[in-house]
């Protein structure tokens, strides 16, 4: 069972206490955006095999949204962190780079 540490209430929550909220760090395009940007925001997903950034909600706990950096190929969790960030913070980046030295930051660099 997947266990994530909630950065708000400090509980190590099992996945049955959590609600998965999909890819994190999406740019939210709205009125006035191009069709490409709006389609990309709503539907197109990286869906990577490897390092992935996700939104999670501690639904049956403190109720807060937070973010997780996780590997979809091994289910290893690198870090969880505040949802009030537009990009992974330095300590999260360092934790990932330490374990996946070859990983390229792509869109997030």
């Amino acid at each position: 069972m997947l266990t994530l540490h909630c950065p708000y209430c400090g509980v190590d929550a099992d996945e049955t206490d959590l609600h998965a909220g999909g890819e994190a760090h999406l740019t939210r395009f709205g009125p006035g955006a191009s069709d490409d940007d709006f389609e990309g925001y709503l539907f197109t997903r990286k869906n990577p095999k490897g390092v992935h950034f996700e939104r999670w909600r501690h639904a049956y706990g403190c109720g807060k949204w937070f973010l997780a950096a996780r590997c979809t190929a091994t289910l290893e969790v690198f870090a969880t962190y505040s949802a009030q960030t537009v990009a992974p913070p330095a300590d999260v980046r360092a934790a990932i780079t330490a374990k996946r030295p070859d990983w390229s930051w792509g869109d997030l660099s």
Binding site: M1, H19, A20, K46, K49, E54
Partner: protein, 414 residues
């Protein structure tokens, strides 16, 4: 190819079974093909087969990173039905179901299609309305389905409990010509027929890159060297996003784990397929006697072919409510597959931003039933550039808001 027949069995019995050929040839890849299909699962092999059979395109390679039929083709619960709400879905799934009817004769390979009938239980007022609407839609689409009463459900499946503790059975959507087939045999039968047409099936060959010139595909880089092609078909289910990234575009899709499990074999007790979508479990009995069980997907992206235990617990709980006699059944084994789920829970059969690359993916939790129809339609799309069966399934439908919204129609498993 030597044909399989009763005569062939008798002949081989008299000579100690020394005369059987390999079902498909093992050949090294050539440097160039007209068409390369990535993914030797059911959908990829069926695409290749109908390219050869319907359009005479036989200079084809089917590349597989693992072994033939070892992905979701070998991991599903083998249910075949076509009782979908939306017209484009009903068209392609009914094409598929009708091809299954004669597939064994067509391929000269016994795929053990068993049209034993599929019931989708209605256990809430909402489901009654939903399935009655589907039954009406199906009669307009020419798909033979029927709304049946709880008494008829009990008659068709005596082991069912109509007065469950949470959700009583209020009726069902019955498709008499739905059923099951032998999943491995579908892959093997198509592979044998493809090989017989001169196509190359190359296993343990992973695509590491896609080669393009002026926005047009020219070939693929693989672990067995470069292979050139004029047209490339990507039919890799759960890994579609990974392969698309190599070709330089993204898909409206996420990959999640879906699990299935089988029980120990027991005497015949159930000769229909039952799907209970409100409590969320589905079950049929295999020819060996095992109860074949499936449920819901995990909620998070995953490529590990392992699912979360609590989903098995939920599925089994739902089935114990629905079929009390299974409460003491021991489960034999469990496995997971990586399913490719799109925004509207409908597949993508489409041209892509790269000229010459076609994609067939997004079958999500219900791809096995679609194998022959998907291959038929994808072959037409690749050979002619369009197909009446695939027009609505373009990857660009999300931009236009033209969803094929089976997620609302089917709710869950489909």
């Amino acid at each position: 190819m030597k044909r399989y027949s009763a005569f062939a069995i008798a002949r081989e019995a008299l000579r100690q079974h020394t005369g059987w050929d390999r079902a498909w040839a093992k050949r090294p890849p050539k440097s160039k093909y007209d068409v390369v299909i990535v993914g030797a699962g059911g959908h990829g092999l069926a695409t290749a087969y109908y390219l050869g059979k319907n359009f005479g395109i036989t200079n084809v390679a089917i590349i597989e990173k693992g072994w033939l039929g070892g992905g979701n083709t070998g991991r599903n619960t083998t249910i075949i039905r076509s009782n979908y709400l939306q017209d484009p879905s009903a068209a392609i799934y009914e094409k598929s179901r009708s091809l299954y009817e004669n597939l064994s004769q067509d391929l000269n390979y016994n795929v053990m299609f068993s049209p034993r009938g599929v019931i989708m239980l209605a256990q809430t007022q909402h489901e009654i309305r939903g399935y009655q609407r589907t039954a009406h839609a199906n009669s307009l689409q020419g798909v033979s389905t029927e709304w049946i009463t709880p008494e008829r459900v009990k008659e068709l499946c005596p082991i069912i409990n109509l007065d469950g503790p949470r959700y009583p059975v209020l009726g069902g959507l019955w498709q008499e010509r739905g059923g099951t087939a032998r999943h491995d045999a579908v892959a093997w039968g198509y592979a044998r027929a493809c090989s017989d047409m001169g196509m190359d099936i190359i296993q343990q060959c992973e695509v590491t890159g896609v080669k393009k010139e002026n926005g047009k595909v020219t070939g693929v880089q693989t672990t067995q060297g470069d292979i050139g092609c004029d047209k490339l078909g990507m039919v890799v289910a759960g890994h579609a996003s990974v392969l698309a990234e190599k070709a330089g575009f993204r898909l409206p899709m996420e990959s999640v784990a879906l699990q299935a499990l089988v029980s120990e074999p027991i005497k015949p007790c159930m000769d229909v397929v039952i799907m209970a979508n409100t409590v969320h479990g589905y079950m049929s009995q295999s020819d060996k006697g095992e109860m074949v069980i499936g449920g819901g997907t995990d909620s998070f992206n995953n490529y590990t072919q392992r699912g979360s235990f609590h989903h098995i617990e939920e599925t089994v709980r739902a089935l114990v409510e629905t079929f009390p006699m299974v409460s003491r059944l021991k489960m034999l084994r469990q496995w997971g597959g990586i399913v490719d789920v799109t925004g509207d829970r409908s597949p993508i059969l489409s041209k892509t931003p790269v000229d010459g690359i076609f994609v067939n993916c997004g079958w999500g939790t219900g791809g096995f039933k679609a194998i022959p129809g998907s291959g038929w339609a994808m072959a037409e799309l690749m050979a002619k550039g369009s197909s009446p069966l695939t027009n609505e399934f373009s990857m660009h439908r999300f931009r236009e808001g033209k969803f094929i919204d089976e997620s609302v129609a089917a709710g869950v498993a489909h």
